[in-house]
């Protein structure tokens, strides 16, 4: 979607009105745009209706918006990740480079961002999950066949009240309010169906209805739509997880509770910032918030349309929507200003969100369907976590469980059936791959596992799909880091040792680097796949943030991390989180492996359960109201725990006895060789 000129001006980086215009030709599209001299290249590109991905939100941090300036004069504010030769060759960051004269600029193809992932295996996962609930029997929307006595002069009750009466008599359902759409269709449906109709009734659990709107004591039942006769209506619902990076949706048959399709796509907001902070900053002006809202709705509609067409359904068949997202994503989706989430004392517009008609949000579903956003408990603990906590099952027993949702933000919940406490810490893009020199998402060609020979220091890698390597994904990073440490290539503070005899260690742009795959053996054949000192620092920080968050959470309630009985890992981390390696680098606590379970996308599963089971929905509400939120920004214990975790595996090695043991064993093993 091209930015309008107005938006470009709002950017604040465009030069004053006095600046002369320059012409920028963009290749390979061959489009020429005119912008005032001193404009950002990125603005020129947007103005031309073209796009360059801005993973860090145009903050000049990721170095991914690189373009090549073939002709003309530019000024580079930042040259992050560009080497001197590359600058020489004209490479520049679109978000950080100002055009001073007429120019010719080549846009470079980046990693495909709109790649769709079929969610089939995720759907399987849901079927396997055992959440004890009567899902499939108490969905939010159900259909009722009602035979209504026709009116006559003696009984001239209007159509709706007539239906109401019969619902009460036949099903004991009272206090139904109608939607306008249903009212509009009712007379015709009754008469076409010869006084038999199928009523689509939306039912909210009284507790939830109360929790959502304390003044609404009668609104538990709503006539959403009505069809003539007793044709079984098509009742579908959508459960959608709005992740900062990825949006995933399930299409669910509400009558059976079955997931009939699942699909995911990258959140189109990525183009405006890879992390929530970047997006909050980007969304300072209303126009940009509107843009962000449109982007995510666009992504959601894309998924819905695709699934509907695959299943030969229509928009009107989707009668309920449940959305789980972090606090910022939920705000942006609902068009709420997230600005205060980021600023002390870190409060959003709301924790519990109203039911909003789909038509208001322009979602491609039945216009009367209500969109239910899962409740948030804090600035950085949102509906994805309250929904996920339900799925983790942590609230079911006395055992102390730690539920971790690992992504750009590490969110976590500690507790049991009696109490819950949560926090979030910024892990940065370390495990998303995007931040690193050779990082990439967990798609085909991504290195997901690495082994390094302790004698020759030669690596062996495996990739997703067994393809020729293109880069390293988050799980690959964990694996690689673990190996580098265990083989002594990096010391315990993560610095690459210059003394190791291998040509794979060399001086790079950012200090020393280790070459994982030589350029010739990669998919592009152009660049070595490497990990450098800076990448390692980022990884260290990411793992330290997560471990520190967990440690502080435990400490805040007087527990030690080893008191945790179960560690439940959720998030779109991938299917492969190697517990052994994750413990080696100190990302996960050193507990027996059988205490860990990987649950997949818990946010989506939680949304799904809220859709098909009103008890689950109420349970999520309950989780949200009893979950305590610990704000770590205000907590110096976190900084201390963080510094302490900023070591391999940890400054306090006694917390990682198994790693100590294998290090010892390796040492002896190597010296024996």
């Amino acid at each position: 979607m091209p930015l309008s000129d107005d938006t470009a001006l709002l950017d604040g980086t465009t030069a004053g009105a006095q600046a002369p215009d320059v012409a920028v030709r963009l290749e390979p599209a061959g489009v020429t745009v005119t912008v005032p001299a001193g404009s950002l290249l990125e603005d020129a590109i947007s103005k031309a209706g073209l796009r360059v991905a801005l993973p860090c939100g145009g903050q000049g941090r990721c170095g991914r918006c690189v373009v090549q300036v073939k002709e003309g004069s530019v000024r580079r504010r930042s040259t992050v990740r560009l080497g001197a030769e590359q600058i020489e060759e004209g490479y520049a960051l679109a978000c950080q480079t100002l055009v001073n004269s007429d120019a010719v600029v080549l846009l470079i193809d980046a990693e495909p961002r709109q790649e769709r992932i079929v969610g089939g295996d995720l759907a399987d996962k849901v079927a396997r999950e055992s959440v004890p609930c009567d899902r499939r029997r108490a969905p939010v929307v159900s259909a009722y066949r009602v035979v209504v006595p026709p009116p006559d002069m003696a009984d001239n009750t209007p159509d709706f009240e007539r239906l109401q009466r019969e619902m009460a008599l036949q099903y004991g359902i009272r206090r139904i309010t109608p939607s306008l759409t249903a009212l509009a269709r009712l007379p015709e449906s009754l008469r076409n169906g010869e006084w038999t109709v199928t009523a689509v009734i939306e039912q909210r659990d009284p507790d939830v209805a109360l929790a959502l709107d304390p003044t609404d004591s009668a609104g538990s039942y709503r006539l959403l739509d009505v069809f003539p006769g007793d044709q079984p209506p098509r009742l579908y619902g959508a459960a959608i997880d709005i992740g900062t990076t990825t949006v995933v949706a399930y299409l669910t048959d509400l009558a059976t509770g079955e997931v009939v399709d699942g699909l995911s796509a990258y959140n189109d907001q990525i183009a405006r910032g890879e992390d929530v902070i970047s997006r909050i900053i980007y969304g300072k002006q209303l126009a940009r918030r509107v843009e962000l809202r449109e982007r995510v709705v666009g992504t959601m509609n894309g998924l819905l349309d695709e699934m509907l067409s695959r299943k030969r359904l229509t928009r009107d068949d989707i009668l309920a929507v449940v959305v789980a997202g972090n606090t910022t994503m939920t705000h942006l989706f609902l068009g709420l200003d997230p600005a205060n989430i980021r600023l002390e004392p870190y409060v959003g517009a709301a924790g519990k969100f109203p039911l909003v008609p789909a038509s208001t949000l322009s979602l491609h579903v039945h216009p009367e369907a209500l969109v239910d956003c899962m409740p948030a408990v804090g600035a950085y603990v949102g509906g994805d976590i309250t929904a996920g906590a339900l799925i983790s099952g942590m609230t079911e027993g006395e055992e102390i469980a730690l539920f971790l949702d690992i992504g750009t933000n590490g969110e976590m919940v500690l507790g049991n059936n009696e109490w819950l406490i949560s926090c979030a810490c910024s892990a940065g893009p370390g495990f998303e791959g995007a931040g690193a020199s050779s990082g990439m998402r967990a798609v085909r060609g991504a290195i997901e596992e690495v082994w390094i020979d302790p004698v020759t220091f030669e690596p062996t890698v495996t990739t997703i799909g067994g393809d020729v390597p293109r880069g390293i994904c988050g799980s690959g990073m964990i694996s690689l880091m673990g190996e580098l440490m265990m083989t002594g290539i990096i010391n315990k503070s993560g610095r690459i040792s210059p003394d190791i005899p291998t040509k794979r260690i060399r001086e790079g742009h950012n200090g020393l680097e280790y070459v994982v795959v030589w350029a010739d053996d990669t998919a592009t054949g152009e660049r070595d796949i490497i990990l450098d000192d800076t990448d390692i620092i980022n990884l260290l920080r990411a793992k330290a943030a997560i471990y520190a968050g967990a440690a502080v959470l435990c400490e805040s309630v007087g527990l030690s991390i080893t008191d945790v009985d179960r560690v439940l890992i959720g998030g779109s981390f991938g299917k492969h989180i190697d517990v052994e390696k994750a413990i080696q680098i100190g990302l996960l606590p050193d507990l027996p492996w059988d205490r860990f379970s990987y649950l997949g996308n818990t946010s989506l599963q939680g949304a799904y359960h809220a859709l098909v089971c009103r008890t689950c929905r109420a349970e999520i509400e309950d989780i949200a109201s009893k979950m305590t939120y610990l704000e770590l920004s205000a907590d110096n214990r976190f900084m201390d725990a963080f510094t302490s975790a900023l070591f391999l595996p940890h400054t306090d090695e006694s917390l990682f006895p198994s790693v100590q043991q294998s290090l010892e064993a390796r040492k002896q093993g190597v010296s024996a060789v």
């Binding site: 010391n491 315990k492 503070s493 201390d640 510094t643 900023l646 070591f647 306090d652 006694s654």
Partner: protein
Amino acid sequence: MAVPEVKEKYAGRIQEVTLGAGSRGKTVAIGGESTLPFLHFEGTVANRPAIAIEVSDREPDDWSPLLKEAWGDVMGDPAKWAAKAEELGADVIALSLDSAHPERGNTGADDARKTVRKVLEATTLPLIVYGPGQKDKDNEVLVAAAEEAKGERIAIGNAEEKNYRTIVAAALANDQVVIAKSPMDVNLAKQLNVLIGDMGIPKDRIIMDPTTGALGYGVEYSYSVMERVRLAALGGDATLQQPMVLTVGYEAWRTKEARTNDEVPQEWGDWAQRAILWEANTAITLVNTGANLLVLRHPQSVALVRKAIDRLMAGA
């Protein structure tokens, strides 16, 4: 009336480190205690905290006039300076090879050797040798110093997280002690000890410098960092059991209170008294939280701190 037992039974003990050997007329052992500072009722304080006097190999141009007044013209000559420091009650000479700094003379390994030799000859006390604090030059002159003073068991520093390998290797090869300096943080201090320990240097040859701020400028952070270090060490954490050295003189004499009397409030009182107390009170506050070796600058604060330590040890 019976009072509950409050003696702690600590699992750990501070590592004892000895400075000086060979031609040194005196050796100085620090550390070795099994309790918090001077709690003689529950453990032994094996060695009194020692005092090093800072001596530079080039006349410092940024030192307070009060210090210049106190030391007079020996300041131009590290050997004479060291001899006078010994006379004035130092236990250790802390020789700073500041002239090796690229901006302050850029002297090299040969000069360093000569200076170290001269100072060794001028005093019978053990030495600490500090580099100029710049990576390449530190490596150059500290290696030279370690070699030159082979057999004398000097301490060389500072080894820091970003530059420790060469310095530790030099200490290891020449049987010297290394000073591990980390920013004021208990975790960073520990991490550096682990990294240095991983190089195989014995524990009786590491002194840690957890960095201090002066009175009024962050001394409370050091107070707490050091106390945490000490409690962990006594609690049995072997990676934090190194004795601690603090460059109190450097920090205290950087403060406005000590450096100058220009445009200061009248309530600050007499300049000389204030400046000396600034150093002495910083020192004593750190001694109270576990300092084993203090690097000081002014002869009078040296005398005050020494007497205070005498008194604190008197309960042993």
